[in-house]
């Protein structure tokens, strides 16, 4: 172990992706500690809301892997969120599968669904891909209602599922337990995403985003990578959907309209396109800002939301992550010029 660290040290000056700067590690650990402590000090309802924030963050991260890292547009991620949610609901309700086991199944099914959708999407670029995925998002509720699948999906009624209790007699409320469960899933998935992005695969995905032709010339199988990016992105969003189903205890076609897909997009942009921690900020935004807007004015809640959104884009045109980078850059410049 020590030997490998040494190698890393030697190569460190240039190997960007392999080593995360110390301050980032420190910050991550700090956030994690706060994350672990929070549920012990706030109401169950707040715990529940924070759980949803994490779930949205995972979904947004999924979208980010596709759009931010690989440059493929999607307005259809509500579809994968729905597939994940329904997979979990059906497995729990119809087959009595324990909730934790449904997550990998939901993930794999979404991986396959995303990969398959990614194949035809290969021929589409930019706006056209956005529109095709938009179509997917709009069609999703209708497909979920389809009478052919009603036996499984419960049709328009949806499926009500039971909220799990904490295991091993832990002295936690259901909400607290689900919070920690979600947090664990989030940490694993964020860490995996961080590694992926800084790896060979991540570079290939970004190369495709920036210049597909040149990427091909570098020997990157763009078709495969793009489809897989779609698959992995769907996997993330699908796992989020599965968690969402468990936390909300209910799935129905109306839960997965294209407004959800739009929310993910908003969350991604507000948090910062391509940024991993940004996904958390995006999740918090789409969770809390509509409520805030409602507090300002009930009748004009969405107008208030729109205005907030515009202001956010004005102040941070590249999202929270870009804003932080910009400020950090300015500070660095000032510091260096003072030296």
């Amino acid at each position: 172990m020590a030997a490998r660290e040494d190698i890393a040290e030697v190569a460190a000056p240039r190997v960007g992706g392999l080593t995360f700067p110390a301050w980032q590690r420190l910050l991550t650990v700090g956030v994690l500690i706060v994350g672990l402590a929070i549920p012990l000090f706030v109401r169950n309802f707040t715990v529940f809301q924070l759980t949803l924030v994490m779930i949205y963050a995972i979904a947004i991260l999924g979208l980010n892997l596709l759009t931010g890292i690989n440059g493929q547009f999607s307005l259809g991620h509500s579809a994968f969120y729905a597939i994940g949610a329904y997979t979990t609901a059906i497995l729990m309700d119809r087959f009595g599968v324990p909730y934790a086991l449904t997550l990998p199944v939901a993930g794999v099914i979404c991986l396959i669904a995303g990969f398959l959708f990614g194949l035809p999407a290969l021929r589409l670029e930019g706006l056209y891909l956005a529109l095709a995925t938009f179509a997917l998002a709009v069609a999703t509720p209708q497909l979920l209602k389809l009478s052919l699948f009603e036996r499984w999906t419960g049709g328009v009624q949806g499926i009500v599922i039971v909220k799990p209790d904490p295991p091993f007699g832990l002295p936690l409320s259901q909400d607290q337990w689900l919070y920690y469960f979600t947090l664990a899933v989030l940490v694993v998935m964020f860490a995996a995403a961080a590694r992926l992005i800084s790896s060979r695969t991540g570079r290939a995905l970004k190369a495709i985003r920036d210049n597909p032709l040149a990427a091909k010339a570098m020997g990157i199988d763009t078709a495969l990578y793009k489809s897989l990016a779609f698959g992995v992105s769907a996997l993330y969003t699908g796992v989020a959907g599965a968690l969402g189903a468990i936390v909300i205890q209910f799935v129905a076609p109306d839960s997965f309209t294209f407004f959800l897909a739009v929310s993910f997009l908003v969350g991604m942009v507000v948090g910062g396109v391509g940024s991993i921690p940004g996904a958390l900020i995006g999740g918090a935004f789409i969770m809390f800002v509509p409520n805030l807007a409602e507090q300002v004015s009930k009748g004009l809640a969405w107008a208030v939301y729109g205005v907030i959104l515009i202001l956010v884009i004005y102040v941070m045109p590249t999202g929270a992550a870009g804003f932080v980078r910009l400020v950090a850059g300015r500070v660095a410049r000032v510091v260096s010029s003072n030296r």
Binding site: Q249, A252, D254, S255, F259, G299, A301, W302
Partner: protein
Amino acid sequence: MTTRRTLLAAAALAGVALVSSPSLAQKKYDPGASDTEIKVGNINPYSGPASAYGLIGKTIDAYFKKVNAEGGINGRKITFISYDDGFSPPKTVEQARKLVESDEVLLIFQSLGTAGNTAIQKYMNGKKVPQLFVATGATQFGNPKEYPWTMGWQPNYQSEGRIYAKYILDKHPAGKIGILYQNDDYGKDYLKGLKDGLGAKAASMIVAELPYEVADPTVDSQIVTLKSKGADVFFNVTTPKFAAQAIRKAAEIGWKPVHLLNNVSNSVGSVLKPAGLEASKDILSTGYIKDATDPTWKDDAAMKEWEAFMNKYFPDGDKTSSFTNYAYTVAQSLVQVLKQAGNELTRENVMKQAANLKNVELGMLLPGIKLNSGPNDFYPIEQMQMQRFDGERWHLFGPVMSGEIGGS
């Protein structure tokens, strides 16, 4: 230490005082109720595809202002907390939890939509918080055995479907029925009611059943198909906008079937008038609430009272919309329940009183229609009367019928 002891003593004294005054029932409170206040929660789609229903929440809010202005209920003011869920079930869950856990309301009243209510039903019953008078006609909300904390209010869709079936079997036994329905729980409930009512004859009589989606721009294509399938009875299960479209399109292409329009969309002001009064002539529907735009009730005392309320407390409200008088009436029902609960404002007692409505008459209900509920009957309104539109107003005809679905 002293303060605490004093407090304890005071409390003991107060207890003695309560016991010793038999005129007042024992004061008992659950969260959300106190000597001065009753907190009522509500969830409504103020935004999103179903935002037209937001009017219901606004009207209820206005009505409770009136109640408060007139002294409240047994001296307590109603605090009405209404949140927007945009018709999205996950949001409904969040808002319900906020109301129960954060705002600590006594009960949730008139939460709107089948999916949203289904989403929170288990939670509400688990928490033992009343989910009272839900704003949907789906049958699943009147099941006291499984869900003792959930209760419907309006006549359920299946009952209404059965009433139409009865009418068809009676008047048009050889009719060829064409159905247009919204592809969701609401549409399907009506469909089921009609089919159950028709019984064995359903298969032979129904020549076409066509769904539409809320996102569809028009239902023109469906109307054309129904006509060319030779349907002469049209069962129109649509929400106001599509109902108006269907009425107009049918007239436009010269299709004149026996037109059965569901109660959801029989507002003269917001459906028949936009669709064209001439085109709406001879449409049949059922009613249980008086329509404000119907000249029949021009001099009705209850209607005048409602108008006075609207003018004073909700002047911006759309008086032509049936949502306003619906909301007014359902709010009155809650006031009735809370009045009956007296000083025992516990959640349990609220449910007990809600299931103890006996022949309650509310001004805006059609004559002869009363609120009735019992421990096994969680459908307070089960009666409706058929009516025919003459191009100007609805004319009630036939007996007050009951839906046959539900307890009693």
